[in-house]
Amino acid sequence: MKIMVCIKQVPAKDSTLRLTEDSTWIREQDLSYEINEPDAYALEEALRLKEKHGGEVVVCSVGPDRVQQVIREALAKGADRAIHLVADGGSRLDSYPAARLMAEAVRREGFDLICTGLQSDDLGFAQTGVVLAELLGLPHATIIMEVQAEDGRLKVKRELEGGWFQWVQMPLPALLTIQSGINKLRYATLKGIKQAKSKEIRRVIATELGLKAEELAGRQKLHRVYVPVKTKQTEFIDGSPKEAAAKLVEKLQRDARVL
């Protein structure tokens, strides 16, 4: 199976986010980055499918040069090669630009399966994979918790709301958006890290794909980014842990009457 995995680099979970002066984005220079969580699971699933059925795993990431960090990590874990689609912050609005770039870059590769994460932790569109499937004319299924591939067909387990699941069948080639928790992630080995250094990272810019800037424009306009205003009056309890704990217990007994 020839599999592509879309991996996105996102600010690390514990990052403190600060706004830029013009409130149109966060200050990126302060941040450290990591692979988007469900994308790590998508990669793991692809590596397992390759181990079972043979083939190749190619990772693809859209973003500035810093995304090579997550690309290297994926190569160290066992991906065979990578495509880095160079793009600046313009792709942060709207899922379309990243999907379009990836579609043009891989159209002729003939992947049997494309795996993306179900959602990015930073923008949270939950769209890029499905849009990519549409641009490539592929069938898709989202929020996947198990993948079985056999005889050119897929049987996948879709997560539904409230603890329900559903099996869905589809032909290959296809696109799946993978949910966190589908498998157990592996760590990169020392050997893997060494081998990664000699693996191919194809760096591609939009014009090489024959794409003009207008074709990559989103259809949305960002007005402002801001810290949400709290609407609920939370009573913050301070003091040392001991003092805070004592005050809380008292409040739960007296005011909330739940103890």
Partner: protein, 330 residues
């Protein structure tokens, strides 16, 4: 050209998803403000009764789209059917509830007709006659105000709980139900849905628990769950967890709280080291009293907490256990 605000009502097996009413409430408010007609759309097979139920709302009409291929949801059939009706009726805005099903087909529907889809919005305002929507970034830590460029139809989904289902206005008399027959070719439906099932064994019913102590990724390691259990024992509470805790196998799936797990409404909910992503909040914000302990004062969990302690849970929880035991000893 109808120029309408069209609310897509989601039904599965003949039952309306509650969130559909929230999308309809949003559509009515926006319709009022922009002076545009509001319509609702029901699609499926044998779902006339649902269209009639929806028709009690204040609406210009209910559009009913029935086809045997819409009996079981597939993204292909839904998109083919919706694309037809959108091409025929040319709505201004298509509003959807941000359900798992909508996440599955709406990006395909919108991009297939070269339109953009603003997903998971939590609010809107009208500015100089045009709509500006608000959606969350960074798992609720930031908000962004965004508008559409280019031509309608515009596609928007609304987050659970952002609009109130009980604010749907009813009409003086039932709205007309307009049937629309689609021409979906079965050969174009590529995915085949099979059986639905539940996996988690039910050995505990968290929905009945009076007190729940829930742990999130702030707990760091599986061994540390013993501390949470100790607090639960002191309180006579059940233990629950956020998704990553259950994904790791540290707690069984049946103890997962949130959109893909349990929805609970205990008298007291303690969220320890849980950031408060929307998928977690929808499962617990109905609790009567919510306490959150988190080292990040900006964590979105504090948006729903009645009481908050900003601090390290490994310092706060032992102190809490001690104080509870003291109080109970009295």
């Amino acid at each position: 050209m109808s120029d309408a605000i069209l609310a897509v009502m989601e039904q599965q097996e003949g039952k309306l998803n509650r969130m559909s009413w929230e999308a309809l409430a949003a559509a009515q408010r926006i319709g009022d403000e922009l002076s545009k007609p509001v319509e609702a759309l029901v699609l499926g097979e044998g779902v006339r009764a649902i269209a009639d139920e929806v028709a009690a709302s204040k609406l210009a009409c209910v559009r009913l789209l029935e086809d045997p291929l819409l009996k079981e949801y597939t993204p292909d059939a839904y998109c083919l059917a919706l694309r037809e009706i959108i091409a025929a009726e040319k709505p201004y805005l298509v509003l959807l509830p941000h359900t798992y099903q909508v996440r599955d087909f709406a990006p395909k529907l919108a991009s297939g007709i070269e339109r953009s889809f603003l997903s998971d919005c939590i609010g809107y305002r009208v500015e100089d006659g045009s709509l500006v929507f608000t959606r969350q970034l960074f798992q609720g830590k930031m908000n962004a105000d965004i508008s559409f460029t280019g031509d309608p139809p515009y596609f928007v989904s609304v987050q659970a709980g952002s609009f109130r289902a009980d604010q749907v206005a009813t009409g003086g008399q039932p709205a007309a139900v307009e049937s629309f027959s689609s021409k979906i070719e079965s050969g174009k439906v590529r995915t085949q849905p099979l059986e639905k099932f539940q996996e988690a064994k039910r050995t505990v019913d968290l929905t009945q628990a009076e007190i729940i102590v829930a742990a999130g990724r702030g707990i760091k390691e599986q061994e540390n769950l013993a501390l949470i259990q100790k607090l639960a024992d002191a309180l006579g509470a059940e233990v629950g967890g956020s998704r990553p805790i259950c994904d790791n196998g540290w707690l069984p799936m049946e103890r997962q709280i949130g959109s893909s797990g349990q929805t609970v409404a205990p008298k007291l909910y303690l969220a320890l080291g849980i950031s408060g992503a929307i998928q977690h909040l929808v499962g617990m914000k109905g609790a009567r009293t919510i306490v959150a302990v988190n080292k990040d004062q900006n964590a979105p969990i504090f948006e729903v907490a009645d009481y908050g302690i900003v601090g390290n849970l490994f310092d706060v929880v032992p102190a809490l256990i001690e104080e509870i035991n003291k109080a109970k000893g009295q």
